[in-house]
């Protein structure tokens, strides 16, 4: 995994596999506290306490096609490599929240990467899921709520290329502003 946007995609795919109908993806960049926080929460089927204890073990998986499960262990490693950590809150039948925090300016902190394409791939391939994206950068906040957009579209599929394009343009416009704030 080269950057954090790929980790986000990977963890969100877990939420989809867990049957979630709503997935919240939150990124908080707080330069004052030198903190970067990623949070992916869903209303999927959740995990029992035994599963949660095993989940960061790379040799644990619920899949039957192979014997390893690397998604969560890799994100946990990425966080711990830069003085951060990974926490999991989950309740069977209710959903799961995965949070990873990072020391923002740590030399080993992976870059955020292409957040826009991660979101577009998720939205276009899962038009029935309500994605809610929130990106905070110090005092500025961007939110994208797919449920609101779907309501306005009134039956037109969310994965219509034209709809995907305006969502992509919207996210890109925010990311250009957010990246310029660094300089």
């Amino acid at each position: 995994m080269q950057d954090l946007s790929l980790h986000i995609l990977d963890i969100a795919e877990n939420s989809i596999a867990a049957g979630a109908t709503e997935i919240r993806i939150k990124i908080v960049e707080d330069t004052g506290k030198n903190l970067l926080l990623l949070e992916i929460s869903d209303n999927g089927k959740g995990m029992d306490s035994k599963t949660v204890q095993q989940i960061t073990d790379p040799f644990f998986t619920t899949k039957t096609v192979r014997k390893v499960g690397l998604g969560i262990p890799l994100l946990a490693q990425a966080a711990r490599e830069c003085c951060g950590d990974l926490t999991i809150k989950t309740e069977k039948g209710k959903g799961t929240t995965i949070s990873a925090c990072f020391q923002c300016d740590h030399v080993d902190r992976k870059p955020l990467g292409d957040i826009c394409n991660t979101l577009i791939v998720l939205i276009a391939s899962n038009p029935e899921i309500d994605f809610i994206f929130e990106h905070r950068k110090d005092d500025d906040v961007y939110t994208l709520n797919i449920a609101d957009i779907r309501k306005e579209l009134d039956g037109v599929p969310l994965n219509t290329p034209e709809v995907i394009k305006i969502i992509k343009d919207d996210i890109s416009a925010w990311l250009i502003i957010a990246n310029n704030m660094l300089q």
Partner: protein, 127 residues
């Protein structure tokens, strides 16, 4: 910042509603990109991004994309499965930007499976 507005969405809605009845609601082709941890690490997101661009450019409104988990062949990622209506699904492996473009044109649009990139034919179906 110029945000997307309700007006933008309404415009698309009106335009789409006019053509919507012409389509039969279903789709002719479904392309599944395998997005397990292995696939994502090997470049599955780029493959999907190219695929979405190709669909938009070709205006192929009867093609949909979806994602699935690991298929157990992690060494051959990125992988996609192409399903055309009433045809056996074809699984492709070791993909990149150029190969997926070729598969989209030849197989998804043209209907002819690209044998040189195919791993297996007819192994599974999600219809």
């Amino acid at each position: 910042m110029a945000r997307l507005t309700i007006e933008d969405l309404k415009k698309i809605k009106d335009k789409q509603k006019a053509t919507f009845s012409l389509r039969e609601g279903g789709y002719r082709a479904k392309v599944t990109v395998h997005m397990g941890t292995c696939g994502i690490a090997a470049g599955a997101r780029e493959v999907m991004t190219v695929l979405l661009d190709e669909i938009a450019q070709s205006k192929a409104e009867d093609v949909i994309t979806t994602t699935s988990g690991c298929a157990g062949l992690c060494a051959r990622e990125p992988m996609v499965t192409v399903e055309l209506l009433n045809k056996p699904p074809v699984k492709y492996g070791d993909l990149n930007k150029e190969k997926i473009r070729e598969i989209f044109k030849e197989h998804v649009l043209g209907g002819n499976p690209v044998e040189k990139y195919a791993l297996v034919v007819g192994s599974e179906t999600t219809y």
